[in-house]
Protein backbone atom coordinates (compact mmCIF):
# COMPACT_ATOMS: atom_id res chain seq x y z
CA UNK A 1 0.00 0.00 0.00
CA UNK A 2 1.17 3.48 -0.83
CA UNK A 3 1.09 5.56 2.32
CA UNK A 4 1.54 9.13 1.27
CA UNK A 5 -1.35 9.17 -1.17
CA UNK A 6 -3.94 11.80 -0.30
CA UNK A 7 -7.42 11.60 -1.72
CA UNK A 8 -9.42 14.73 -2.40
CA UNK A 9 -12.99 14.62 -3.60
CA UNK A 10 -13.75 16.33 -6.87
CA UNK A 11 -16.79 17.15 -8.97
CA UNK A 12 -15.68 15.50 -12.19
CA UNK A 13 -13.87 12.19 -12.43
CA UNK A 14 -11.28 12.95 -15.08
CA UNK A 15 -10.02 16.26 -13.72
CA UNK A 16 -10.15 14.77 -10.22
CA UNK A 17 -7.96 11.82 -11.14
CA UNK A 18 -5.38 14.08 -12.77
CA UNK A 19 -5.38 16.40 -9.77
CA UNK A 20 -4.98 13.54 -7.28
CA UNK A 21 -2.28 11.77 -9.29
CA UNK A 22 -0.23 14.92 -9.68
CA UNK A 23 -0.54 15.81 -6.00
CA UNK A 24 1.12 12.50 -5.22
CA UNK A 25 3.99 13.48 -7.50
CA UNK A 26 4.37 16.83 -5.80
CA UNK A 27 2.55 19.08 -8.26
CA UNK A 28 -0.40 20.82 -6.66
CA UNK A 29 -3.16 21.57 -9.14
CA UNK A 30 -6.67 22.14 -7.88
CA UNK A 31 -9.44 20.42 -9.83
CA UNK A 32 -10.78 23.57 -11.57
CA UNK A 33 -7.25 24.36 -12.78
CA UNK A 34 -6.97 20.93 -14.40
CA UNK A 35 -10.44 21.26 -15.89
CA UNK A 36 -9.75 24.73 -17.30
CA UNK A 37 -6.24 24.11 -18.63
CA UNK A 38 -7.49 20.86 -20.16
CA UNK A 39 -10.39 22.77 -21.81
CA UNK A 40 -13.04 20.46 -20.38
CA UNK A 41 -16.07 22.62 -21.01
CA UNK A 42 -18.07 22.05 -24.16
CA UNK A 43 -21.54 21.42 -25.47
CA UNK A 44 -22.64 18.97 -28.10
CA UNK A 45 -25.97 17.60 -29.22
CA UNK A 46 -25.47 14.66 -31.54
CA UNK A 47 -28.87 13.34 -32.66
CA UNK A 48 -27.31 10.81 -35.04
CA UNK A 49 -25.61 9.05 -32.13
CA UNK A 50 -28.28 7.21 -30.17
CA UNK A 51 -27.77 5.73 -26.73
CA UNK A 52 -30.64 3.31 -26.13
CA UNK A 53 -32.52 5.18 -28.81
CA UNK A 54 -32.03 8.56 -27.18
CA UNK A 55 -29.86 11.25 -28.83
CA UNK A 56 -26.52 11.93 -27.17
CA UNK A 57 -26.16 15.20 -25.30
CA UNK A 58 -22.85 16.22 -23.80
CA UNK A 59 -22.02 19.20 -21.63
CA UNK A 60 -18.28 18.62 -21.75
CA UNK A 61 -15.55 17.42 -24.05
CA UNK A 62 -15.42 13.66 -24.70
CA UNK A 63 -13.64 11.44 -22.19
CA UNK A 64 -9.85 11.37 -22.22
CA UNK A 65 -9.39 14.80 -23.79
CA UNK A 66 -8.96 16.83 -20.57
CA UNK A 67 -6.15 14.55 -19.54
CA UNK A 68 -4.46 14.67 -22.92
CA UNK A 69 -4.62 18.44 -23.30
CA UNK A 70 -3.61 19.15 -19.74
CA UNK A 71 -0.53 16.95 -19.79
CA UNK A 72 0.51 18.38 -23.14
CA UNK A 73 0.17 21.97 -21.95
CA UNK A 74 2.04 21.44 -18.70
CA UNK A 75 4.56 19.10 -20.27
CA UNK A 76 3.92 15.90 -18.37
CA UNK A 77 4.73 12.64 -20.03
CA UNK A 78 2.10 10.02 -19.37
CA UNK A 79 2.34 6.37 -20.13
CA UNK A 80 -0.94 4.78 -21.15
CA UNK A 81 -1.23 1.05 -21.59
CA UNK A 82 -4.02 -1.15 -22.75
CA UNK A 83 -4.31 -4.90 -22.61
CA UNK A 84 -6.05 -7.71 -24.37
CA UNK A 85 -5.91 -10.19 -21.50
CA UNK A 86 -7.52 -9.32 -18.14
CA UNK A 87 -5.07 -11.35 -16.07
CA UNK A 88 -2.06 -9.60 -17.64
CA UNK A 89 -3.67 -6.25 -16.97
CA UNK A 90 -4.18 -7.12 -13.30
CA UNK A 91 -0.62 -8.48 -12.93
CA UNK A 92 0.75 -5.30 -14.45
CA UNK A 93 -1.32 -3.25 -12.00
CA UNK A 94 0.10 -5.26 -9.08
CA UNK A 95 3.60 -4.62 -10.36
CA UNK A 96 2.98 -0.88 -10.55
CA UNK A 97 1.58 -0.87 -7.02
CA UNK A 98 4.66 -2.75 -5.78
CA UNK A 99 6.79 -0.03 -7.32
CA UNK A 100 4.79 2.52 -5.33
CA UNK A 101 3.06 4.03 -8.34
CA UNK A 102 -0.63 4.97 -7.90
CA UNK A 103 -2.27 4.15 -11.19
CA UNK A 104 -5.21 5.79 -12.91
CA UNK A 105 -7.54 3.63 -14.95
CA UNK A 106 -10.70 3.59 -17.01
CA UNK A 107 -13.60 1.57 -15.66
CA UNK A 108 -17.29 0.90 -16.16
CA UNK A 109 -19.44 2.21 -13.30
CA UNK A 110 -21.70 -0.85 -13.69
CA UNK A 111 -19.18 -2.98 -11.76
CA UNK A 112 -18.14 -0.45 -9.12
CA UNK A 113 -20.22 -1.76 -6.28
CA UNK A 114 -19.25 0.95 -3.80
CA UNK A 115 -21.40 3.39 -5.79
CA UNK A 116 -25.13 3.65 -5.05
CA UNK A 117 -27.09 1.14 -7.16
CA UNK A 118 -28.99 3.91 -8.95
CA UNK A 119 -25.82 5.20 -10.61
CA UNK A 120 -24.69 1.88 -11.95
CA UNK A 121 -25.59 2.04 -15.62
CA UNK A 122 -23.21 0.87 -18.34
CA UNK A 123 -21.10 4.00 -18.47
CA UNK A 124 -17.63 2.91 -19.55
CA UNK A 125 -15.50 6.00 -19.17
CA UNK A 126 -15.23 6.50 -15.44
CA UNK A 127 -11.74 7.29 -14.13
CA UNK A 128 -10.45 6.03 -10.81
CA UNK A 129 -7.07 5.66 -9.12
CA UNK A 130 -5.93 2.41 -7.52
CA UNK A 131 -3.27 3.12 -4.93
CA UNK A 132 -2.83 -0.05 -2.96
CA UNK A 133 -3.77 -3.62 -2.20
CA UNK A 134 -4.83 -4.96 1.18
CA UNK A 135 -6.08 -8.46 2.00
CA UNK A 136 -6.73 -9.15 -1.66
CA UNK A 137 -8.79 -5.99 -2.09
CA UNK A 138 -7.67 -2.99 -4.08
CA UNK A 139 -7.71 0.42 -2.45
CA UNK A 140 -9.51 2.86 -4.68
CA UNK A 141 -9.54 6.62 -4.78
CA UNK A 142 -12.67 7.42 -6.77
CA UNK A 143 -12.72 11.19 -7.29
CA UNK A 144 -16.49 11.52 -6.93
CA UNK A 145 -16.46 9.78 -3.53
CA UNK A 146 -15.77 11.63 -0.31
CA UNK A 147 -13.42 8.97 1.05
CA UNK A 148 -11.30 6.21 -0.40
CA UNK A 149 -12.94 2.81 -0.81
CA UNK A 150 -11.97 -0.68 -1.80
CA UNK A 151 -12.97 -3.14 -4.46
CA UNK A 152 -12.45 -6.86 -5.02
CA UNK A 153 -10.13 -8.32 -7.64
CA UNK A 154 -13.03 -9.77 -9.60
CA UNK A 155 -15.08 -6.56 -9.64
CA UNK A 156 -12.12 -4.44 -10.67
CA UNK A 157 -11.20 -6.86 -13.42
CA UNK A 158 -14.73 -6.82 -14.80
CA UNK A 159 -14.90 -3.04 -14.53
CA UNK A 160 -11.65 -2.68 -16.49
CA UNK A 161 -12.76 -5.08 -19.19
CA UNK A 162 -16.32 -3.95 -19.72
CA UNK A 163 -17.63 -4.16 -23.27
CA UNK A 164 -19.65 -1.68 -25.24
CA UNK A 165 -18.88 1.92 -26.17
CA UNK A 166 -16.16 2.93 -25.41
CA UNK A 167 -14.26 -0.18 -24.40
CA UNK A 168 -11.80 0.49 -21.55
CA UNK A 169 -9.66 -2.55 -22.54
CA UNK A 170 -7.95 -2.39 -19.18
CA UNK A 171 -6.48 1.04 -19.93
CA UNK A 172 -4.23 2.33 -17.17
CA UNK A 173 -2.00 5.37 -16.99
CA UNK A 174 0.61 7.02 -14.79
CA UNK A 175 2.99 9.94 -15.23
CA UNK A 176 6.52 8.88 -16.13
CA UNK A 177 8.18 12.24 -16.57
CA UNK A 178 7.35 15.51 -14.85
CA UNK A 179 8.57 18.85 -16.10
CA UNK A 180 11.16 20.63 -13.97
CA UNK A 181 9.74 23.98 -14.90
CA UNK A 182 6.50 24.76 -16.58
CA UNK A 183 4.68 27.86 -17.76
CA UNK A 184 1.33 27.83 -15.96
CA UNK A 185 0.31 31.21 -17.31
CA UNK A 186 0.77 30.16 -20.89
CA UNK A 187 -1.11 26.93 -20.22
CA UNK A 188 -4.00 28.84 -18.64
CA UNK A 189 -4.33 31.16 -21.62
CA UNK A 190 -4.15 28.21 -23.97
CA UNK A 191 -6.92 26.48 -22.04
CA UNK A 192 -9.15 29.56 -22.04
CA UNK A 193 -8.56 30.23 -25.70
CA UNK A 194 -9.32 26.66 -26.79
CA UNK A 195 -12.49 26.38 -24.68
CA UNK A 196 -13.87 29.66 -25.99
CA UNK A 197 -12.81 28.83 -29.51
CA UNK A 198 -14.67 25.53 -29.41
CA UNK A 199 -17.72 27.06 -27.76
CA UNK A 200 -18.16 29.83 -30.30
CA UNK A 201 -16.15 29.34 -33.44
CA UNK A 202 -16.70 25.82 -34.74
CA UNK A 203 -18.75 26.29 -37.92
CA UNK A 204 -21.26 23.53 -37.14
CA UNK A 205 -24.74 23.98 -35.70
CA UNK A 206 -24.55 21.00 -33.33
CA UNK A 207 -21.69 22.01 -31.06
CA UNK A 208 -20.79 24.85 -28.75
CA UNK A 209 -23.23 27.62 -27.86
CA UNK A 210 -24.90 27.12 -31.24
CA UNK A 211 -25.57 23.52 -30.29
CA UNK A 212 -27.55 24.67 -27.27
CA UNK A 213 -29.66 26.89 -29.49
CA UNK A 214 -30.20 24.02 -31.91
CA UNK A 215 -31.22 21.68 -29.10
CA UNK A 216 -33.61 24.39 -27.84
CA UNK A 217 -35.30 24.63 -31.23
CA UNK A 218 -35.61 20.84 -31.55
CA UNK A 219 -36.79 20.47 -27.99
CA UNK A 220 -39.81 22.68 -28.61
CA UNK A 221 -41.04 20.21 -31.24
CA UNK A 222 -40.55 17.04 -29.21
CA UNK A 223 -44.14 16.73 -27.90
CA UNK A 224 -45.61 16.84 -31.45
CA UNK A 225 -42.85 14.82 -33.03
CA UNK A 226 -42.42 12.04 -30.48
CA UNK A 227 -45.59 11.91 -28.45
CA UNK A 228 -45.94 12.28 -24.73
CA UNK A 229 -44.00 9.29 -23.41
CA UNK A 230 -40.92 9.63 -25.60
CA UNK A 231 -40.71 13.41 -25.25
CA UNK A 232 -40.54 13.02 -21.47
CA UNK A 233 -37.90 10.29 -21.76
CA UNK A 234 -35.73 12.37 -24.04
CA UNK A 235 -36.06 15.38 -21.78
CA UNK A 236 -35.10 13.21 -18.79
CA UNK A 237 -31.98 12.21 -20.68
CA UNK A 238 -31.04 15.86 -21.24
CA UNK A 239 -31.07 16.42 -17.46
CA UNK A 240 -29.37 13.12 -16.70
CA UNK A 241 -26.47 13.99 -18.96
CA UNK A 242 -26.36 17.33 -17.19
CA UNK A 243 -26.09 15.80 -13.75
CA UNK A 244 -24.91 12.21 -14.19
CA UNK A 245 -21.78 10.84 -12.48
CA UNK A 246 -19.16 13.51 -12.15
CA UNK A 247 -21.82 16.26 -12.38
CA UNK A 248 -22.73 17.85 -15.61
CA UNK A 249 -23.96 20.88 -17.48
CA UNK A 250 -24.48 23.32 -14.68
CA UNK A 251 -21.77 21.63 -12.62
CA UNK A 252 -19.27 21.97 -15.44
CA UNK A 253 -20.17 25.66 -15.82
CA UNK A 254 -19.42 26.16 -12.13
CA UNK A 255 -16.12 24.31 -12.33
CA UNK A 256 -15.08 26.45 -15.27
CA UNK A 257 -16.21 29.61 -13.47
CA UNK A 258 -14.12 28.53 -10.47
CA UNK A 259 -11.20 28.07 -12.85
CA UNK A 260 -11.68 31.54 -14.32
CA UNK A 261 -11.69 32.98 -10.81
CA UNK A 262 -8.47 31.18 -9.86
CA UNK A 263 -6.92 32.19 -13.18
CA UNK A 264 -8.02 35.80 -12.73
CA UNK A 265 -6.35 35.95 -9.33
CA UNK A 266 -3.21 34.23 -10.52
CA UNK A 267 -2.82 36.39 -13.64
CA UNK A 268 -4.15 39.51 -11.96
CA UNK A 269 -6.77 39.97 -14.64
CA UNK A 270 -10.05 41.62 -13.66
CA UNK A 271 -11.89 40.74 -16.84
CA UNK A 272 -11.53 37.06 -16.08
CA UNK A 273 -13.08 37.67 -12.66
CA UNK A 274 -16.07 39.48 -14.20
CA UNK A 275 -16.53 36.77 -16.80
CA UNK A 276 -16.34 34.16 -14.06
CA UNK A 277 -19.34 35.83 -12.42
CA UNK A 278 -21.19 35.85 -15.73
CA UNK A 279 -20.53 32.17 -16.25
CA UNK A 280 -21.84 31.48 -12.76
CA UNK A 281 -25.10 33.11 -13.85
CA UNK A 282 -25.21 30.91 -16.91
CA UNK A 283 -24.74 27.88 -14.67
CA UNK A 284 -27.59 29.08 -12.49
CA UNK A 285 -29.82 29.38 -15.55
CA UNK A 286 -28.95 25.85 -16.61
CA UNK A 287 -29.88 24.68 -13.14
CA UNK A 288 -33.22 26.44 -13.45
CA UNK A 289 -33.69 24.70 -16.78
CA UNK A 290 -32.99 21.33 -15.15
CA UNK A 291 -35.31 22.19 -12.30
CA UNK A 292 -38.27 22.96 -14.58
CA UNK A 293 -37.47 20.02 -16.81
CA UNK A 294 -37.48 17.82 -13.71
CA UNK A 295 -40.92 19.16 -12.85
CA UNK A 296 -42.21 18.32 -16.34
CA UNK A 297 -40.76 14.80 -16.06
CA UNK A 298 -42.27 14.31 -12.64
CA UNK A 299 -45.78 15.28 -13.76
CA UNK A 300 -45.37 13.17 -16.91
CA UNK A 301 -47.26 15.70 -18.96
CA UNK A 302 -45.60 17.07 -22.02
CA UNK A 303 -47.83 19.95 -22.97
CA UNK A 304 -46.46 22.06 -25.76
CA UNK A 305 -46.34 25.16 -23.62
CA UNK A 306 -43.91 23.74 -21.06
CA UNK A 307 -41.60 22.48 -23.80
CA UNK A 308 -41.69 25.88 -25.52
CA UNK A 309 -40.78 27.56 -22.26
CA UNK A 310 -37.95 25.08 -21.67
CA UNK A 311 -36.69 25.82 -25.15
CA UNK A 312 -36.72 29.54 -24.34
CA UNK A 313 -34.71 28.96 -21.16
CA UNK A 314 -32.11 26.95 -23.03
CA UNK A 315 -31.91 29.53 -25.78
CA UNK A 316 -31.30 32.26 -23.22
CA UNK A 317 -28.40 30.15 -21.86
CA UNK A 318 -27.08 29.73 -25.36
CA UNK A 319 -27.10 33.48 -26.01
CA UNK A 320 -25.41 34.21 -22.72
CA UNK A 321 -22.68 31.64 -23.30
CA UNK A 322 -22.16 32.84 -26.84
CA UNK A 323 -21.47 36.32 -25.44
CA UNK A 324 -19.27 35.13 -22.54
CA UNK A 325 -17.08 32.92 -24.66
CA UNK A 326 -16.75 35.43 -27.48
CA UNK A 327 -15.46 37.88 -24.91
CA UNK A 328 -13.18 35.26 -23.37
CA UNK A 329 -11.80 34.52 -26.81
CA UNK A 330 -10.99 38.19 -27.34
CA UNK A 331 -9.36 38.45 -23.92
CA UNK A 332 -7.20 35.40 -24.55
CA UNK A 333 -6.19 36.61 -28.01
CA UNK A 334 -5.20 40.02 -26.71
CA UNK A 335 -2.58 38.38 -24.51
Amino acid sequence: MINNFTHKQSAHCESGVVSNLLRFHGMDFDEPMVFGIGSGLFFSYLPFIRINGIPAVGYRIWPGQIFKRFSKRIGIKIETRKFSKPSTAMDELDRKLDQGQPTGMLTSVFYLNYLPAAYRFHFNAHNIIVFGKQNGHYLVSDPVMEYTTEISYEDLMRARFAKGMPEPSGRMYYPVKLPGEYAVEKAIWKGISQTSDHMTRIPMPLVGAKGMKYLASRLRQWPQRLGNRKAILWLGNVIRMQEEIGTGGAGFRFIHAAFLEQAGIKLNNDRLLTLSKDLTKSGDELRDFAYYAGRVCKNRKSDTKSFTELGDLLEACSNREQRIFTELYEVSKSQ
Binding site: Q9, S10, A11, P32, N52, F110, Y114, L115, P116, A117, A118, Y119, F121, H122, V144, M145, E146, K163, G164, I232, L233, G236, N237, I239, R240, E243, T247, A250, G251, F254, I255, A257, A258, E261, Q262, K277, T280, G283, D284, R287, A290, Y291, A293, G294, R295, C297, K298
Partner: protein, 139 residues
Protein backbone atom coordinates in the same frame (compact mmCIF):
# COMPACT_ATOMS: atom_id res chain seq x y z
CA UNK B 1 -25.11 29.36 -7.11
CA UNK B 2 -24.73 30.41 -3.50
CA UNK B 3 -23.46 27.82 -1.09
CA UNK B 4 -26.77 28.01 0.79
CA UNK B 5 -28.54 27.08 -2.44
CA UNK B 6 -26.63 23.83 -2.88
CA UNK B 7 -29.45 21.29 -2.90
CA UNK B 8 -29.78 18.94 0.06
CA UNK B 9 -32.89 16.96 -0.88
CA UNK B 10 -33.52 14.12 1.53
CA UNK B 11 -35.38 12.14 -1.06
CA UNK B 12 -32.59 10.76 -3.21
CA UNK B 13 -31.18 7.54 -4.62
CA UNK B 14 -27.71 7.85 -3.11
CA UNK B 15 -28.31 5.41 -0.22
CA UNK B 16 -26.17 7.65 1.95
CA UNK B 17 -23.10 6.42 0.08
CA UNK B 18 -22.50 9.47 -2.03
CA UNK B 19 -22.48 13.19 -1.38
CA UNK B 20 -21.42 14.91 -4.58
CA UNK B 21 -19.11 17.85 -4.61
CA UNK B 22 -20.39 21.15 -5.93
CA UNK B 23 -18.63 24.39 -6.66
CA UNK B 24 -20.65 27.23 -5.17
CA UNK B 25 -19.99 30.84 -4.23
CA UNK B 26 -19.68 32.23 -0.71
CA UNK B 27 -20.84 35.66 0.55
CA UNK B 28 -18.00 37.44 -1.25
CA UNK B 29 -18.71 35.60 -4.49
CA UNK B 30 -15.63 33.39 -4.25
CA UNK B 31 -15.84 29.75 -5.16
CA UNK B 32 -15.82 27.15 -2.40
CA UNK B 33 -16.48 23.41 -2.39
CA UNK B 34 -19.73 22.16 -0.88
CA UNK B 35 -21.14 18.65 -0.61
CA UNK B 36 -24.69 17.91 -1.68
CA UNK B 37 -26.65 14.85 -0.61
CA UNK B 38 -29.11 14.98 -3.48
CA UNK B 39 -31.06 17.10 -5.92
CA UNK B 40 -34.65 16.53 -6.95
CA UNK B 41 -34.45 16.96 -10.76
CA UNK B 42 -31.52 14.57 -10.88
CA UNK B 43 -33.37 12.02 -8.77
CA UNK B 44 -36.46 12.35 -10.97
CA UNK B 45 -34.45 11.85 -14.16
CA UNK B 46 -32.59 8.88 -12.72
CA UNK B 47 -35.76 7.30 -11.36
CA UNK B 48 -37.35 7.74 -14.76
CA UNK B 49 -34.49 5.90 -16.46
CA UNK B 50 -34.81 3.06 -13.95
CA UNK B 51 -38.58 2.89 -14.42
CA UNK B 52 -37.96 2.13 -18.09
CA UNK B 53 -35.54 -0.65 -17.11
CA UNK B 54 -37.96 -2.12 -14.57
CA UNK B 55 -40.77 -1.97 -17.12
CA UNK B 56 -38.71 -3.98 -19.58
CA UNK B 57 -37.81 -6.53 -16.90
CA UNK B 58 -41.50 -6.99 -16.10
CA UNK B 59 -42.27 -7.36 -19.78
CA UNK B 60 -39.58 -10.04 -20.09
CA UNK B 61 -41.03 -11.93 -17.11
CA UNK B 62 -44.48 -11.78 -18.70
CA UNK B 63 -43.10 -13.28 -21.91
CA UNK B 64 -41.34 -16.04 -19.97
CA UNK B 65 -44.55 -16.89 -18.16
CA UNK B 66 -46.35 -16.98 -21.51
CA UNK B 67 -43.64 -19.31 -22.81
CA UNK B 68 -42.55 -17.00 -25.61
CA UNK B 69 -39.15 -16.05 -24.17
CA UNK B 70 -36.24 -17.82 -22.47
CA UNK B 71 -34.69 -16.80 -19.14
CA UNK B 72 -31.86 -15.25 -21.15
CA UNK B 73 -34.13 -12.32 -22.05
CA UNK B 74 -34.81 -11.65 -18.39
CA UNK B 75 -31.13 -11.55 -17.48
CA UNK B 76 -30.32 -9.30 -20.43
CA UNK B 77 -32.95 -6.80 -19.31
CA UNK B 78 -32.08 -7.15 -15.65
CA UNK B 79 -28.44 -6.27 -16.35
CA UNK B 80 -29.52 -3.31 -18.54
CA UNK B 81 -27.84 -4.89 -21.53
CA UNK B 82 -28.72 -5.36 -25.19
CA UNK B 83 -28.24 -8.54 -27.25
CA UNK B 84 -25.22 -7.05 -29.01
CA UNK B 85 -23.59 -6.07 -25.72
CA UNK B 86 -24.17 -9.57 -24.33
CA UNK B 87 -22.72 -10.95 -27.55
CA UNK B 88 -19.48 -9.03 -27.11
CA UNK B 89 -19.18 -10.29 -23.53
CA UNK B 90 -19.92 -13.91 -24.47
CA UNK B 91 -17.90 -13.80 -27.68
CA UNK B 92 -20.70 -14.48 -30.11
CA UNK B 93 -23.04 -12.54 -32.42
CA UNK B 94 -25.98 -10.33 -31.56
CA UNK B 95 -28.42 -12.19 -33.79
CA UNK B 96 -27.51 -15.48 -32.06
CA UNK B 97 -28.20 -13.94 -28.66
CA UNK B 98 -31.56 -12.78 -30.00
CA UNK B 99 -32.32 -16.31 -31.19
CA UNK B 100 -31.34 -17.72 -27.81
CA UNK B 101 -33.94 -15.49 -26.20
CA UNK B 102 -36.51 -17.91 -27.65
CA UNK B 103 -37.18 -21.07 -25.64
CA UNK B 104 -36.89 -23.30 -28.73
CA UNK B 105 -33.22 -22.38 -29.31
CA UNK B 106 -32.38 -21.85 -25.66
CA UNK B 107 -33.29 -25.47 -24.79
CA UNK B 108 -30.82 -26.73 -27.39
CA UNK B 109 -27.81 -24.75 -26.19
CA UNK B 110 -24.57 -26.51 -25.36
CA UNK B 111 -23.27 -26.39 -21.80
CA UNK B 112 -20.31 -24.31 -22.95
CA UNK B 113 -22.49 -21.56 -24.41
CA UNK B 114 -24.62 -21.53 -21.29
CA UNK B 115 -21.51 -21.16 -19.17
CA UNK B 116 -20.46 -18.11 -21.17
CA UNK B 117 -23.83 -16.48 -20.64
CA UNK B 118 -23.83 -17.39 -16.96
CA UNK B 119 -20.36 -15.88 -16.55
CA UNK B 120 -21.52 -12.67 -18.22
CA UNK B 121 -24.41 -12.29 -15.78
CA UNK B 122 -22.40 -13.54 -12.79
CA UNK B 123 -24.75 -16.41 -12.01
CA UNK B 124 -24.49 -20.21 -12.23
CA UNK B 125 -25.73 -22.22 -15.18
CA UNK B 126 -28.40 -23.77 -12.99
CA UNK B 127 -29.75 -20.34 -12.12
CA UNK B 128 -29.65 -19.33 -15.77
CA UNK B 129 -31.75 -22.23 -17.04
CA UNK B 130 -34.22 -22.20 -14.15
CA UNK B 131 -37.25 -20.73 -15.90
CA UNK B 132 -39.69 -22.07 -13.28
CA UNK B 133 -38.21 -19.85 -10.60
CA UNK B 134 -38.59 -16.77 -12.80
CA UNK B 135 -42.21 -17.67 -13.44
CA UNK B 136 -42.80 -17.53 -9.69
CA UNK B 137 -41.68 -13.88 -9.52
CA UNK B 138 -44.72 -11.74 -8.84
CA UNK B 139 -45.98 -9.14 -11.23
Amino acid sequence: MNKEQVPQDQENLNEGKLAKLYYATDEQGHYVKVNSIGWEPETVAMQQAWDVVHGEVQEALRKIRAGSASPLLYYIKKNIMTPSLVASYAGTFGFLVKLHCRPFFFRRLRRKTLEKYAYTFRITVDELIDAERLKQYDQ
